[in-house]
Structure formats: C-alpha cells, structure tokens
C-alpha cells in the first residue's frame, strides 16, 4: 500500500490574496465595468445623466437593477464604484505580488502604474471635484458659479436694502428629506430658527383652483407646493418647501413657501431687522472676476450645429486684468479652476444682438491625471512591445547565424 504524501495546504490568507490579485477576478471586473457602462449609457436616455451617475457610479448604492426602455432587466449587478475599487485593489495586489519584477517586465509594470493612476484619478474626481456653471452677459462681470443640481436655503441678513451676510442651509441637510419629513434648523447666529416641511427637489407653486398634477403640500397664503417627479435633466428641477420661522422660544413668527424659481425671496422681520429666505442653487465664489468682453459663434452651413463658439474674457484678479480667449476645446485654466466654453444664448439671437456665454467651471485636483495616465500606459506598452520586438529580431538573427 503506497503511503500518501500530505498535500501542501495554502494558508487561508494566501488564498484570499491569490483570489484578490488574480487574473480571473481582473477579467470579471473589466467585463463588469464594460457591461455597467453600456447599461448605464442605455438607461441615461430615460433617467438622465445625473440620476444614472448616482445609480451606477455612486458609493451609496452597492447594487443596482438595470432598466431599459422602462422595463426592468431582472439581474442584480454590483455598482461600478465598488467594481472600480475592487479592480484597483486587484491591480495593485497583482502588480505587487503577481507581476514579475525584472527588467524584461518593466514596460508592463509601468503600464500597470498608469492604470492605477487612472483609477485613482477617478476616485479623486468622484470625491473631491466640484462642477458648476457661470453665465455672463456680454459686457458684464461675474465672480460666482452655481452648482448644477444642489439646492440650498439661503437666509440673508439685510443692512438697509442691501444684503450683508448670507447664512446657508446646505444641500446635505436637505437632500435626505422627504415631503412628509420636518426638520428644525437651529440658526446659531440668527435670532430665529427655521422649521422646514414638505421639501421636494422638484415642485411647483399652484393655487387650489389649478388642475392637479401631483400630490400637494399644505396651503400657505393661497399657494400649495405641488410635488413633481424629478426631471430627466436634473438641473431643471425646481426645489421648494414650506418654512416656518420660530423665535428662540419655539413660537411661530411667520410661515411661507420658498421655491427655487420664485421672482423674489420671502421677507422676515425680526427685532426690526429684515431678513430674506429663498431656495437657491448652491453657489461657489471664484477667487477672481471674469468679464465677458465679446462672444462669437458660427454654425456649420445650413444647420443649427455649432461649428465654433468662443468667448473673449478679462480675468480680473487683485486689480490686474488679463485677456483670455476661451474656445470650445481650449478652456481657461487658472488657480486650480478650469473654465470650459459650455453654451451660450439666446438661441434665436440675430446678428448684432447682445449674447451671454455659459462656462462650465470645474475644480478637480485630478483634472490632468487621465491624460498623464494615458501617457504612462502608452510609454509602458511601447517599452514592453519594443523590447519584445528587439528580442524577436535578436533571436531570429541568432538562429540564422
């Protein structure tokens, strides 16, 4: 009877490490990323860009069920954010433990480093980048960008007729509210507090006699807020809520509705001082001013497709003016901010009419990382294939000799 040799058992941690750094996992994750991107692109038609990004690429939704053309596709898929994270871990561990650390593999190692940088860039962009837009009329100056989607409640202290200080209830304190929720905001530096009820990210003020298009909040001063489904283009949502102003003893001073698109803010008078309350898009002050000197545009002949549009601006910083030309694919980069030429208006302007220009303003510490990572991957692959080619030619020559 032959004696059986004890098989060499791998340590469980080693097994985990092998799995996490393995090629099988890498292949599955790359495939999943491709499928998720494809399904996300299809669903974007119905859901809009913002919602799709939240559904497919947000850390808060680990799993998702895709839909296409209104129909649910009965599969549960992991969120691309977590797939990307796992892929980063896989690539990092694979590079450290599986790759061959020798000169002959230097190109592959460089290419891996490039891919890691790209994934890291996506992570930094997801968590630390800010986007907004700045619209300026020709001949006017602006120093503020507005976020596309984030609504805030602003309480402005007035000195005479001019605003003197703006207190902000930030988006993070509003976006988890449902219409049936109530939240008390203790305004630490103001003589009153605000109670917010019936907050809805998309609503319309309506009077009781108007045709009903959705659920309605409490009637206040002849108006309800009627709740609407979020728009496919989320930047078109018009948030609103009911606000009750309470003194520090909790007694009601006033109540009113506030709504993003209101013509004027609500006014509160407390202790002979005026305050205004309004819903606004979250704004973001620039470290410099931008003056739009001129805007020009051109269509492709016989179409409404833009061929060229560009803005001549003056960047004004600490009294110094600098002339900059911002074109469709040539943004202005300054002080960590990038100004892209995004759009313009009015769309039906005739020759000679004053125009306004819209810039997308982006602050992204990883702005150039994808480009750098592509260069690194390119150089890595060039080295790897170059070495292979040289070796092949060398071996062929040796064999011929």
């Amino acid at each position: 009877m032959a004696a059986t040799l004890p098989s060499k058992q791998k340590h469980p941690l080693r097994k985990v490490l092998d799995f996490l750094s393995g090629y099988h996992l890498a292949s599955a994750l790359i495939l999943l990323l491709g499928v998720l991107t494809w399904l996300g692109t299809l669903e974007q038609v119905d859901l809009g860009l913002y919602e799709v990004k939240r559904k497919y690429f947000s850390a808060s939704n680990p799993f998702l069920v895709p839909k296409y053309n209104g129909y649910t596709i009965p599969i549960i898929l992991p969120n691309a954010y977590w797939v990307g994270m796992l892929f980063f871990v896989n690539l990092l561990l694979g590079t450290i433990f599986k790759a061959r650390w020798r000169w002959a593999s230097s190109g592959t190692l460089i290419a891996h480093a490039g891919m890691l940088l790209m994934l890291l860039g996506a992570f930094v962009t997801q968590h630390w980048s800010t986007r907004g837009n700045m619209a300026i009329n020709e001949g006017e100056t602006s120093d503020v960008a507005q976020h596309y989607f984030d609504h805030v409640i602003e309480v402005t202290e007035m000195e005479g007729s001019a605003p003197s200080k703006v207190h902000v209830i930030e988006t993070k304190h509003l976006k988890d509210l449902d219409p049936e929720d109530t939240r008390l905001f203790r305004m630490e530096n103001l003589p009153f507090d605000l109670k917010v009820e019936g907050y809805q990210s998309n609503a319309r003020p309506v009077t009781p006699g108007q045709p009903r298009n959705g659920d309605r909040g409490t009637l206040v001063d002849g108006y309800h807020l009627e709740f609407r489904e979020d728009e496919v283009e989320s930047e078109r949502n018009m948030g609103g809520c009911k606000v009750t102003v309470l003194n520090k003893q909790g007694e009601k001073i006033d109540e009113f509705l506030v709504w993003l698109m209101a013509f004027h803010p609500a006014t509160v008078r407390v202790e002979d001082k005026f305050y205004t309350v309004k819903v606004n898009k979250s704004s973001w002050k620039m470290p410099f001013e931008v003056h739009l000197t001129d805007f020009t545009h051109e269509y492709h002949p016989g179409t409404m497709r833009p061929k060229r549009f560009e803005s001549e601006v003056e960047r004004i910083e600490r009294g110094q003016k600098e002339h900059v030309l911002i074109k469709m694919n040539e943004p202005m980069r300054h002080d960590g901010l990038t100004f892209f030429q995004a759009s313009w208006g009015p769309q039906n302007a005739r020759p000679g009419q004053d125009l306004f220009s819209v810039f997308e303003v982006v602050k992204n510490p990883a702005d150039k990382w994808p480009e750098i990572s592509m260069w690194i991957v390119g150089i890595g692959l060039l080295i790897q294939f170059g070495m292979k080619l040289v070796m092949f030619i060398y071996n062929q020559a040796k064999r011929d000799v």
Binding site: F63, P78, L86, V168, E188, F263, P306, R350
Partner: protein
Amino acid sequence: MRLLLIFGGLAVLAGLTACKEKPAEVTVTETRELNLSDEPPKLGATSDQRFGQPGIGGGGDVGAGEYAFVKPGDWVRRPGTEFRLLNFVAGENEEVEIYLSKSRGGLIGNIARWFRQFGKPEPTESNLGALPRLVILGGEGILVETAGTYSPGMGRPEAPGFALAGVIGQTPSGILTIKMIGPEASVKGEMERFRAFCASLKEVE
C-alpha cells in the same frame, strides 16, 4: 461562490450604513461670501408677487414693466430673463413655452430663422404677404405657424412632433416677437389663448 461572498459582504455593509436615522434638528453655522450676483432684493413681496401667478384660474391684468396683458388662466408665469421679457409655460405638464422678446433687425431674418429651426424652406420677401396677420400692440403683426422636428441647436436634442406659433411685429422700439413652442397637439390646444394674449398686450406709458 467567492464573488457572491464579496458582494454579500458589501450588501451587509451598505445595509448597515443605510440604517442611519434622519436627524430631526440640525444646527446651522455655515455662511457664504457675498458675490456680484447678490443684488438688493425686493423686500416684503407677497406670495403672488413671488410666484408670479396672480389671477390664476380667472386671468387678470398684470404689469410687466413696460407691458400690461391679460394672462390666460391656465398659463403659469415664470421669471423672465434678459431676453425673455415675459415668460410663461402652459399645458398639462408645462410642455409649452411662451415668451415675449424684443430684438432689432429685419422681419424676414427673424422669420427665416424660425422656419430654419424646423427644417422648412425660408420665406422670401414676396411670399411674406401670404402669411396671416394678428393685431399686436395696436399694430399689425405677422403670424407664423410651422411644425415638424424642432432643432434648438447648441447640441440640445431635436424634438420631433413640435410646433411653433409666433407673432412678429415692428414697433417704434424695434421688433417684438411672441413665440409659443411645444408639442404640436399642445400648441394647437393653446392657440386660442395665445391669440387672446396677443390681443390683450398693451404698452404701459
């Protein structure tokens, strides 16, 4: 199996984080810097003034700076822009936009652009006379109606099945246009109210 374990673990983690209770109270200390867009607001505005819908359900005279008009009952007024002196939406889902603008230049150029946006041949001076007329600000306005695929331009998606009803008239201060754009059926449904609105428009001294 191993993949299932990993994703299962992630799901449990997500479940735990989702269990956070919504706070009933929040203390607010955040402020923001004033910027160039912080202009003096109108203080003491009523809800009607703030939401711009006086006379809803019954219509009413509403001043808009230099214009007075009777707003059709079910139109909803929206804040204007520099180039939309009056701005309304209509229809069950507010799918129709109606706005009044002032511009310079020729009638033919404006009308040609409207047709171009619907992929229709541009009219010539000679066939302008065939277009119907409407009374606008006591003078004569040309009524333009067209339908088809609307191309708003600037990369915005084309909208098939749309229609335009627009009135254009020469006034002493330049060309005045009132445009109504939206899905064809909705625009047709608003046509009578559009005509009534145009007829009610007056310049305020």
